[in-house]
């Protein structure tokens, strides 16, 4: 027991001796197959093989946020809609993510949210899509922090009824907001939202468990017969609020997430 105590003390001392500074870069990424990861990689030309194998991986937006909020040396990315004061978004190539830069498309890191439907689309789904494409749907989308996108809703007679939507947890907040407004507008409707992820949603669609699938990435072949891009979402690159940097170039972001940057000090003083 005494030996163990000495050992523990030694370990603690060694640990404290190491530099526990903010200088060490910790990149936080989403898991392989995540719509957010795919969109981020696409925007910064990061292939799967390029991404730093030592980067922290998580499958939840809130964990990305908590990691970065709790670690002055961390850098991560998440949906603009999930941004709050606990972290700070960096300008990319000189353009900050603001409502204006999102709306005019000058912010460089954007992706689309999709709703996919089977070949035999249900009347309730038609009605919901027509609602989203309409004036009220666009207003709700804007208010929820996303950029409304014009799309051709399926024609034909929609009918408010029981509707099941399943899929991406990134798209879910938007659909929840749309659902609330939709239910207030159509008293006869009943909308269920099953939150999982893009691929599970698509699989549920194929199995006939849901009417519409939510996808936060481009639908793959066979994922639904038709898909509509209903809104656009920005990806914010985030750091701790006390971090010295205000903006990064695309090349810098690429270096950070591919493990080519060693320490913040060396990295930021380069230019």
């Amino acid at each position: 027991m005494r030996r163990m105590g000495v050992l523990l003390a030694a370990v603690l001392l060694c640990g404290c001796g190491q530099t526990a500074g903010v200088d060490e870069i910790t990149a936080v990424v989403r898991e392989e197959g995540s719509g957010t990861r795919a969109a981020f990689g696409e925007a910064f030309a990061l292939e799967e093989g390029d991404i730093d194998p030592d980067a922290v991986v998580t499958n939840s937006t809130s964990v990305v946020k908590l990691c970065v909020a709790g670690n002055p040396g961390a850098v991560g990315y998440l949906s603009y809609g999930a941004l709050d004061a606990s972290v700070r978004a960096l300008a990319i190539d000189g353009v900050a993510a603001t409502e204006a830069s999102l709306a005019d498309g000058s912010y460089p890191v954007m992706r689309s949210f999709y709703l996919a439907a089977p070949a035999e689309i249900s009347p309730a789904a038609v009605d919901f899509l027509q609602f989203i494409a309409g004036e009220q749907g666009r207003r709700v989308t804007q208010a929820a922090g996303f950029v409304p996108q014009a799309f051709d809703a399926p024609g034909g007679r929609g009918e408010a009824g029981r509707l099941v939507i399943a899929g991406s947890s990134s798209v879910a907040p938007l659909c929840e907001a749309l659902r609330e407004a939709y239910l207030a507008d159509r008293p006869g409707a009943a909308v269920e939202i099953q939150i999982s992820d893009s691929s599970t949603g698509a699989a549920a669609l194929a199995a006939g468990i849901c009417d519409l699938a939510m996808l936060s990435r481009t639908p793959a072949v066979g994922e639904g017969a038709v898909a509509w891009a209903i809104a656009r979402d920005a990806l914010a690159v985030i750091v701790h609020p006390d971090h010295p940097a205000h903006g990064l170039s695309s090349a810098q972001v690429r270096a950070l997430f591919s493990g080519k940057a060693v320490s913040w000090h060396a990295f930021l003083s380069f230019d």
């Binding site: 197959g33 093989g49 194998p53 939840s60 809130s62 908590l66 809609g81």
Partner: protein, 547 residues
């Protein structure tokens, strides 16, 4: 009234049937998963032995995850086992009576806290602590191991405590009569006498540690490459499954099911090794030289941890309770429905299995087989259960995302917990009661029903508490079987989210984290209420026997 002989025969046949059904169920689950994993095993084959896992690039090396599971579990046991065993020892032999009840109640409460809450606790408190002490990102094998050690603490504590209470008082008195003082008698006689129970506690704890995902995923860093040391992050087998299962299709999904199968095989192998009866000669060597105040120190640390976690939940959750409460009614009812359903299914089967193993089965290969299978059920990670529940109950049986599918999946998960604790409880009953009952002409079943079950009431209630805690805290398995719709449960076939799933959904996108904490607080209060009710029930049962 049927003749007692035929009742006895029927009871024996029934218990035996349940035991064999358990064996069949485990085999069926393995075959079912095996069939789903076959395409990946055939196609990937030897490439599974690589050191990088990146399905998008066609790299399928599972060595990092194997290594990760082993390392994280080892740290967890190194933290949780001594702490749990010594605290249990403190509670049974060193503790003033007035302290024992609140401490074990608090520990039972910990068992009911959802993994996601532990994950947040780890992320907000443990990760920065490890980072400032040791450097690095703080998301490491060490952090995940410590967090897991804390998570398996209630399981080990509760089971060890039951095992220690099983040790006949005559052993302790004998040691005292031979001149040993209290501490020496407890350390050298009572503790070694409870070793089987402690080993079983370690086994269940191990199963929990290997299988845990939702908390580990938040603090382990999840890098799928070989780590350089304890301070590097790592991906475990179970987090590897949960992190990608959502997106995986085709070969990728099949490969993940193969991971589940590997996990299954590891747990099975582990149980086979540990289930082997210790050789007679080794027993004497099971003697620990413990510092005198080890139990007190361990209990102190445990209480500190209890306060830290409960305090964390209260401080984060209480201010937002008002905002979260209106949305909680439906998930609360769904939670109760899933608890009721899963207990209704697993309690009779679990008790029957325990009765078979404790009272009917003779030591031998059948008993070992049944026990190994039950332990294997206990070790399967909840994401594997969720996957199995979804593939089998939701899709194959066509129940859809429903409370029924969720309840059935949970029932399978609860079976080993109920069985283990009930069996420990039955074994704890003084053999004199059995012999007295037999001497009065009662058959085994009658003795079981009228004497042993009530006398084992406390152990069984302990099992129910653990089981309820498991249901309340479960996320992964229910998300995939009962769905995540926030609505009032109108029928068994309706989808619904329990409080933990509700919390998971709130926390997931980081938009409603405050409400998620508030939900966690409500969960803790709910578990506390259930525990108090179950405790009162246990006391009434004991009084009925007149013990």
């Amino acid at each position: 009234m049927p003749s007692s002989a035929s009742t006895e025969r029927a009871a024996r046949a029934g218990f035996t049937a349940v035991a064999w059904a358990t064996v069949a169920a485990v085999a069926a689950i393995a075959l079912f998963l095996g069939a789903q994993a076959l395409p990946a095993i055939v196609e990937i084959g030897g490439d599974f032995l690589g050191t990088v896992w990146s399905p998008v690039r066609g790299l399928w090396g599972i060595l990092p995850m194997l290594w990760g599971s082993a390392a994280v579990t080892a740290v967890a046991l190194a933290v949780g086992l001594p702490l749990g065993v010594l605290t249990a020892l403190f509670l049974t032999h060193f503790c003033p009576r007035c302290l024992a009840a609140p401490i074990s109640a608090a520990a039972d409460l910990l068992a009911g806290i959802p993994s996601v809450v532990y994950g947040f606790f780890g992320l907000v408190l443990l990760v920065p602590a490890v980072r400032s002490l040791f450097g690095g990102s703080g998301m490491s094998i060490l952090t995940a191991g410590i967090l897991l050690g804390i998570m398996i603490l209630p399981t080990i504590l509760s089971l060890t405590r039951t095992a220690l209470l099983t040790v006949p008082d005559s052993l302790y008195r004998g040691a005292r009569a031979l001149g040993a003082e209290h501490t020496a008698a407890v350390f050298t006689v009572v503790l070694p006498a409870a070793r089987t129970g402690i080993r079983n506690a370690a086994l269940l704890g191990l199963g929990r540690a290997v299988g845990e995902t939702m908390a580990v995923i938040m603090v382990a860093g999840n890098q799928a490459r070989l780590p350089a040391g304890l301070l590097d992050g790592i991906r475990t087998l179970s987090t590897g499954i949960v992190i990608e299962m959502g997106y995986a299709t085709g070969l990728h999904r099949s490969a993940l099911i193969a991971l589940a199968l590997i996990l299954f095989a590891i747990i099975l192998g582990l149980n086979l090794i540990l289930m082997r009866r210790p050789k007679a000669g080794r027993e004497r060597r099971w003697r620990l030289r413990l510092p005198r105040f080890a139990p007190h120190t361990a209990a102190g640390v445990t209480v500190l941890i209890l306060f830290a976690i409960l305090g964390f939940v209260v401080v984060r959750g209480a201010p937002h309770l008002g905002a979260a409460l209106p949305g909680l009614a439906a998930p609360a009812v769904t939670t109760l429905a899933v608890i009721a359903l899963s207990l209704a299914l697993s309690l009779p089967a679990g008790l029957a299995l325990a009765a078979y193993l404790a009272e009917y089965a003779r030591p031998g290969w059948v008993m070992r087989l049944v026990r190994t299978m039950t332990q294997t059920l206990a070790g399967l990670p909840s994401v594997v259960w969720g996957l199995f529940g979804m593939l089998f109950f939701v899709i194959r049986l066509g129940w859809g995302y429903s409370i029924l599918a969720g309840g059935a999946t949970m029932a399978l998960m609860l079976l080993p917990i109920i069985e283990r604790t009930a069996e420990e409880g039955l074994r704890a009953v003084d053999d004199g009661l059995r012999r007295g009952s037999a001497a009065l002409g009662a058959g085994r079943f009658r003795t079981l029903r009228c004497i042993l079950l009530p006398a084992a009431g406390e152990g069984i209630v302990g099992g129910i508490i653990l089981a309820v805690g498991r249901v309340v805290g479960e996320t992964a398995a229910l998300l995939w079987t009962a769905g995540s719709v926030a609505q009032w449960p109108t029928s068994l076939f309706a989808s619904g989210r329990t409080l933990a799933v509700h919390m998971y959904a709130l926390a997931g996108e980081g938009l409603y984290t405050d409400q998620a904490y508030a939900t966690a607080l409500v969960l803790v209060v709910l578990v506390l209420g259930l525990n108090l009710a179950a405790g009162a029930l246990g006391r009434r049962l004991r009084r009925k026997v007149g013990a």
